[in-house]
Symmetry: D2
Subunit: 323 residues, 4 copies
């Protein structure tokens, strides 16, 4: 039975991968990070996982890629888990902003007393700098350990991507020095950037993203291993952030047309969390799911062009929107 | 049975009204609209309605007040219902912006090809101007008729509030002329403002807001009268907007701490839509609900100070968050 | 002797008109004001006047055109003359801004307690609204009378240009309502705009502009009629404004390459004030001069394309820069 | 005779120093640079120099202080002298901006193809990075040599101020990385900042500033030594910049009320260039002068509070305005 179900769903996913593969032409690989710019833009893969631990995969699912901005959601979880949500929300707000993820304008104009949210670079670098640990190395080690526990396997940094970003992230340095000036950053700028670029360079697969999405969908609980990793409260705020700011400046459109809490990265990855929806109009994934997508050609907003289109189709067909 | 259930829930709501009434001191009535500024800031009332049509009310529920910005959500629904969602989304985007609801800055800076969303004044005035009808009067009549059909009773404008806003809305005139210049507005500025200020001045009660919230929670369907008023798609996008931009510049915090799709107005009203949530951790309103709140002392963001705090408590206790 | 001198200078000016006529192709007539958009873009004319009242004219000098933004300098003078400089500087600042002349951005961002300077539209409309007189008509009549006294002949409004601007100035209405909201404007918006658009629509010739420039160069004194029209202080601040903000967003470049206090308008007019410069390296206009230029094809900044280039050549050849 | 003249002028200056000393309370020493913050805020000194080399000094004239932003004018001259004005103007514009001297906002908003002017930090750092020389050390050596030639004596860096600024200039680092990202900066950020902070830390006296001002007033020519140091063109554009942007965001007010091309620094120094003005209404400094002022208590704009007031009095009494 289960095998048949898997087959049917997998076949459906394969069809949708084929339907949407062509949308890769609407994007390009992230040219401003040389190591990301050179990958094959035509790839598209997806894995979904249900509450019983069944994976449903289609397309290019054997590729490893780096977390990039998807790490922002995970660092937020890791930090909140260690120090409590209140500690984090005192230091970073959770309000969406219509500005670019790396903009300095809203800081100069509004002079907020904390970054707008953890998913713009300013907020993300602040979050990284606050991770527990005496120095950058230990702070990053804490994050990596936290994620390895969630995933159940060791993680590695893509050294080439790390080096490429370290050398070219003038804009992030500008932002981080601005944060330093505004006294948002206790750590030294270069140390904070080291953690931030390290977390962006962690290698994952679509299977990994799917599992992480499932744990978020289940409010910090892994329904397969029966382990509670972090609190419901943390998971909920993370999903709020994914809906309001998870897909860069098309978060509103993604919420309207897809409606799945999701976080994307410029490597072309998307992590989606589909909460249980017992009154769903379809039977697929009524008990929730995690989704991992990879499609490295990104649109002008920074989201996987083909991946976004595919998720729109999937959400519509299987009624996965939380709205 | 039902009576007892009602009693218990109503008693609970009464307790929460009493708990939160004092938070009114954290806000003041909207001073920039003289007719709003002079009401009693200490009032606080709430009505909830369930799918069977039972009302659960507590506090100051007999007051009538004006829709103000809550009308933005309803005009969006009315226009989308008439011309289709696609028509509307071509003319107004659905992206949150971190700027003030009446800001001109993002237009000058980003020169978007449409207003950012229907809940900032620029988007709302554009939506109003597009309503079906040959002139301002007919356009407003269409909206009023649409709302009367939803509510099942006639509606009236608060003439004093209308006059007060008409005389003092220099900022909205500035915005509307800016829209005219940007060619977003086909209607004459004064006509568009007439519709917009008229819709803001419609008098409602917390019962009305609760019923409207229920219909949104039920995706355009009234479970009591069994009437389908508008499409699921329209309801979903409206709820996305309520989550991402419904509570002015604290929409993110409201989503994080309350998690109920909601739209507020500077008169102190809040309309909330609680979708069914069969896996809820409590039994109250598992099948969804509509919420109407009135508390005219508004905080710096423009939301009812006491109302927001009360909704936070209610959502937490009864697990009403969609996240 | 004088005739010969005139001849030589006039011949020189004629040569420079011919040299620079072609630069009109670098601009176009102001398309956003229909009545201005339709004039012949190829025209170029100049008149200079010396302290003895001799005119030196070349090119298309028989055309009448409207003052447009040149009126901003004159209204500033008229108001300062009536109420004193201190009164005016309390209400409008004299700081340059890098933003467009019709921008609302700096107001929202910086929330200044007065407009940045009298040469951006916000400052100019404020100045116009403050003119002495009980109503718009009388205020404009005061300005017109003041200018007629300076020029010694009656002035008229170009009704077609007035109507064209009145109908299309949505942006100025947006600005004016913004000013009203910010409480910078005591007058009603439509009245203030009536004065402002009236002053922009006053018809002048290059001879008129030259004479006005001479009076400014002579610190409010007409050396021909021996009449002192306004104080040295007013003239000096006006010339400061002409240097720092007189040529829209290329005022800095104009000062660097031409160095003559000047004010331009989108009709293609430029009024220049050449103060006495006894240590000049040439003999022409050592005792100062007034300049009027007309060249209706304006560049992206809003200045006469050919006129600006011609003034650059004249200033260099005759060492007219004040720097 | 000369001695008597000197005496009379010096006595006058001493009176004005006394008149204006008290205005120091309107400012404070620059607290954001610790080494500057701790000097005595009550000091006030002035030196003027005439075309014959006579110095007229009053008040606290024996203090050495650092150039800070005054160096921006001098680096502009040095670079323009080496590569020609055209080379420099291709890389940095000469337009005033109403934004703060260290703002990133106008870059993000307008995305200009070069910094707005050499007197905002972005332009100044760009200018410094372009100085001739293979590396930071050589580039700074060129500048220092150029200034020593103008002044006729060796110059030194205030190491304490340099260290203090190097450690605290997060905002300048943010700006410089932003410039790097925008490809305005060919040099490495840390090298460009090294030059920039070095030039800011050069120690001078009011006598030095007066002599530098005189050379600018005389269009690059030293009337005492009869040496032509740089071209008239360069001097003129520098004076334009001093008038339009030399006194931070009160340049317009300074031009209106003082009218002397001047450049200030947050150490409290002001360098003024008084060009010859043969038609002046007074006899003092008709043939031009250089002015050096020192008053370390700076106002909110960044200019010497007492120094600015004193220059206003001097310019008025001796008719030194170029307008």
């Amino acid at each position: 039975m289960a095998v048949q179900k898997n087959l049917r769903i997998t076949e459906q996913l394969e069809a949708w991968v084929n339907d949407n593969k062509g949308h890769a032409v609407l994007g390009t690989t992230a040219q401003y990070i040389p190591a990301l710019g050179k990958v094959d833009p035509g790839k598209l893969g997806i894995c979904m996982i249900d509450e019983d631990g069944n994976y449903y995969c289609a397309g290019d699912t054997d590729v490893e890629f780096t977390l990039q901005s998807i790490s922002k959601a995970l660092t937020f979880v890791a930090l909140s888990h260690h120090y409590g949500l209140e500690f984090v929300l005192e230091r970073v707000d959770v309000e969406p902003t219509g500005e670019a993820f790396n903009s300095i304008v809203p800081f100069e104009i509004h002079r907020p007393n904390k970054p707008f949210n953890p998913f713009i670079n300013a907020g993300a670098i602040t979050i990284s700098s606050l991770l527990p640990g005496q120095n950058a190395q230990k702070k990053f080690a804490y994050l990596k350990g936290f994620l390895e526990e969630l995933l159940g396997h060791p993680l590695e940094i893509d050294k080439e991507v790390y080096d490429s970003e370290w050398a070219t992230s003038h804009r992030n340095r500008a932002l981080a020095y601005y944060l330093k000036e505004a006294k948002f950053l206790e750590l030294e700028v270069e140390e904070a950037l080291d953690i931030y670029i390290s977390q962006c360079s962690i290698k994952v697969s679509v299977k990994d993203l799917a599992l992480l999405g499932l744990i978020l969908a289940y409010d910090g609980y892994n329904p397969i291993t029966k382990v509670k990793h972090f609190s419901e409260e943390i998971a909920q705020v993370t999903k709020v952030l994914m809906v309001t700011c998870g897909m860069y400046n098309s978060s509103g459109n993604f919420a309207a047309h897809v409606g799945i809490p999701a976080k994307s990265g410029v490597s072309g990855g998307i992590m989606g969390a589909v909460p249980p929806k017992l009154h769903s109009q379809t039977y697929e994934f009524r008990a929730g799911a995690g989704i991992g997508v990879y499609g490295p050609a990104i649109d002008v907003q920074g989201n996987s062009a083909a991946g976004t289109m595919m998720l729109r189709q999937i959400s519509k067909e299987w009624d996965l929107s939380i709205f």
